[in-house]
């Protein structure tokens, strides 16, 4: 059975997107291999072309780069970073990240929509990082996004799916792939996101700061696959309103 993740017309066999910002660079390759990752994000500000510890030098050539616009505080800056990313050869994918709060690093949904529209019009495959709000997600669809990336919890917090109910609404209502980004601290949480119907999961801190990066990458891969399989299999019915009454309430009906 072919179960491909399709983003902006591009097919991926893996539903595990890796973040790179918190890694010791020489461990990234092992994480990619053990996690069988096909797409990796990188902060363009970490690219140091021709210089020391250039993150681009540590990424395998056959992987899809998902450059992000971290450091941008508004749409205008995000657009400029994205254009720069294309210029230095990082491809057409871009994860729009607009953050104007240094404490929680929460995305600015309004500026994100603006940047998404401009970049989609310029032919980028735009994957906006957002706070899970249905109206915003719809606006992102209209703006030309290729996927929507709601946060599970604040970046780096490892708190898991704090926004679960709202992510579920996006999964249910939005046609585009919903990729849970930020806050996933353990494989079980990644699995849970996939069971809910998320199209993919993005993870960085939990793997980069694990004692054994390879094993943790493997664990995430397996968890994501398990969650996906469960979603496709159709989870057993979980009743929302408690158990069924054993003597039916409508048993009095006669004709």
């Amino acid at each position: 059975m072919s179960d491909k993740l399709i983003i902006g017309g591009h097919e991926f066999g893996s539903r595990f997107i890796l973040g790179s910002g918190k890694f010791s660079l020489e461990l990234i390759k092992a994480a990619i291999e053990n996690g069988q990752v096909e797409m990796i994000t990188l902060a363009l500000r970490r690219a140091n072309v021709g210089g020391e510890e250039n993150i681009l030098d540590y990424l395998p050539k056959d992987i899809t780069l998902l450059p992000n616009t971290s450091g941008a505080r508004n749409a205008d800056e995000a657009v400029r970073i994205a254009r720069l990313s294309r210029e230095i050869g990082c491809g057409d994918f871009v994860k729009v990240e607009v953050i104007s709060d240094s404490k929680y690093l929460l995305p600015d949904n309004y500026e994100t929509i603006k940047a998404t529209e401009i970049l989609a019009n310029e032919g980028f495959v735009v994957m906006p990082y957002m706070y899970p709000d249905l109206n915003v997600a719809r606006s992102l669809v209209n703006a030309g996004a290729a996927a929507v990336m709601p946060l599970g919890a604040p970046i780096g917090s490892n708190k898991g799916l704090c926004t679960k109910e709202f992510i579920q609404i996006l999964v249910d209502e939005i046609e585009l792939p919903i990729i849970v980004d930020a806050g996933i601290g353990r494989p079980s949480q990644a699995c849970e996101a996939m069971e809910m119907g998320a199209a993919a999961v993005m993870c960085n801190t939990a793997i980069a700061t694990a004692n054994d990066v390879e094993q943790m990458a493997k664990a995430f891969k397996q968890a994501i696959e398990a969650g996906r399989a469960a979603y496709l299999a159709g989870l057993g019915r979980v009743l929302n309103f408690g158990a069924e009454a054993s003597s039916p309430l409508t048993g009095f009906l006669e004709d």
Binding site: G21, K22, R46, N48, G71, S100, D101, S102, K103, L105
Partner: protein, 384 residues
């Protein structure tokens, strides 16, 4: 003797006054801080919390927290990993000039200290920057003494323009400016501003800043805010530990940063934790009661209180201390440091501000970071 001197609370002509109540807020809280009253249970309560209150931060800075240093270190390390992963930023300072109009009793550049004074020419600035860039560094911190008639605004601005040719991140640690002057230097290429209050105790402040514009306490206090109003992206805070009561000064520094972040949520916040060091003609200058243990307590308290803030560890500290504090709490360190004027391409042209304790090169620092399982980061900023 003080009454013949300038009132440290009165702005001099030309100094911009902004509408801000942060100084009153910080000074009031610090005045009320009686650290002897904190107990074990205050510290334990603070360390149990996910997010610390101002009161909790005060507890971690109190003597009652000293027995909990190991617990604080574990918490700090976890927070540092969560927010910064393995990344350790690298940079180096370049001193453009050591001319200074201030008489600050603890500083080697002070107006009465007989040292060799110098200021780099534009050609020399370029040479120095080129030489530093050849080490691989992409972040530079430009410093001068406070002497606008030598190292004036335009001179600094021109130097910054050259710096942007070689470096992706440019910061300044110069005398405080008005917001329009910060805006000008921002346009020239600077994005980050460090201004250290040295001490937040006004009596102590006027006792050690005897002559010169630095004597004006509130103008210095509001520098970060003016820098942000001028469009700068990040601001750094610090008290010179050992000058006054370090627990109160550390509390004030943390609160100063905390309130600035609240008022300007986009601002990138960072801390430095300099201790007093000996300097030329004053070999006895020392950090008094701030030993490494106390210094670490301050650093850990900053990290736990504001887990998202950058912390820079100075070459004023010995290699063994610096190496252990990165990843634990600190996220940035300098390498290949010279604190005299110039000295990267040619012999130093002017004498040093203080004695450094860690003179390792960029390569040596790089190796050390890698050997500790951490990642040296050269480039982490795009100017847009």
């Amino acid at each position: 003797m003080n009454d013949t001197r300038v009132d440290p609370m009165k702005y001099l002509e030309g100094m911009e006054v902004i509408d801000s109540d942060l100084m009153e807020k910080v000074l009031k809280l610090v005045a009320d801080y009686d650290y002897a009253q904190y107990t074990d249970s205050d510290v334990q309560t603070a360390l149990k919390k996910d997010k610390l209150s101002i009161h909790d931060f005060a507890a971690l800075l109190s003597p009652a927290a000293l027995p909990y240093l190991e617990v604080m270190a574990r918490r700090s390390k976890a927070e540092t990993k969560k927010h910064f992963g393995n990344s350790i930023g690298l940079f180096t300072p370049l001193y453009l000039s050591n001319f200074c109009q201030n008489h600050c009793t603890y500083c080697g550049f002070n107006i009465f200290n007989r040292i060799q004074r110098a200021m780099l020419t534009m050609e020399e600035v370029e040479e120095e920057l080129k030489e530093i860039a050849a080490t691989g560094l992409k972040e530079i911190l430009i410093l001068t003494g406070e002497s606008p008639r030598n190292a004036g605004l335009e001179y600094i601005g021109e130097s910054l323009k050259i710096a942007t040719k070689y470096f992706s991140t440019v910061g300044i640690e110069i005398y405080p400016l008005n917001s329009d002057e910060y805006a000008y230097l921002h346009k020239c290429g600077a994005d980050f501003v460090s201004v250290y209050q040295e001490t937040y105790n006004i009596d102590k402040y006027q006792e050690v800043h005897l002559i010169g514009p630095k004597r004006i306490f509130p103008y210095r206090f509001h520098a970060q805010e003016r820098a942000l109003l001028g469009g700068m992206r990040g601001v750094a805070f610090g008290a010179l530990l050992g000058l006054g009561d370090f627990r109160k000064d550390a509390l004030a520094t943390g609160l100063h940063a905390f309130f600035i972040q609240q008022k300007y949520p986009h601002a990138e916040i960072s801390f430095s934790t300099p201790r007093l060091r000996p300097y030329i003609n004053n070999a006895d200058n020392n950090p008094n009661d701030v030993h490494e243990k106390q210094l670490l307590q301050v650093i850990l308290a900053y990290r736990i209180f504001m887990p998202f803030a950058g912390i820079t560890i100075s070459t004023r500290e010995r290699a063994g201390f610096r190496d252990n504090v990165i990843g634990l709490a600190a996220t940035k360190m300098s390498a290949g440091v010279k604190v005299g004027v110039g000295g990267h391409s040619e012999e130093e042209k002017g004498d040093e501000q203080f004695e450094i304790s860690d003179d390792r090169t960029v390569d040596e620092i790089h190796e050390m970071i890698v050997s500790r399982g951490l990642q040296p980061v050269y480039s982490d900023y795009i100017r847009v």
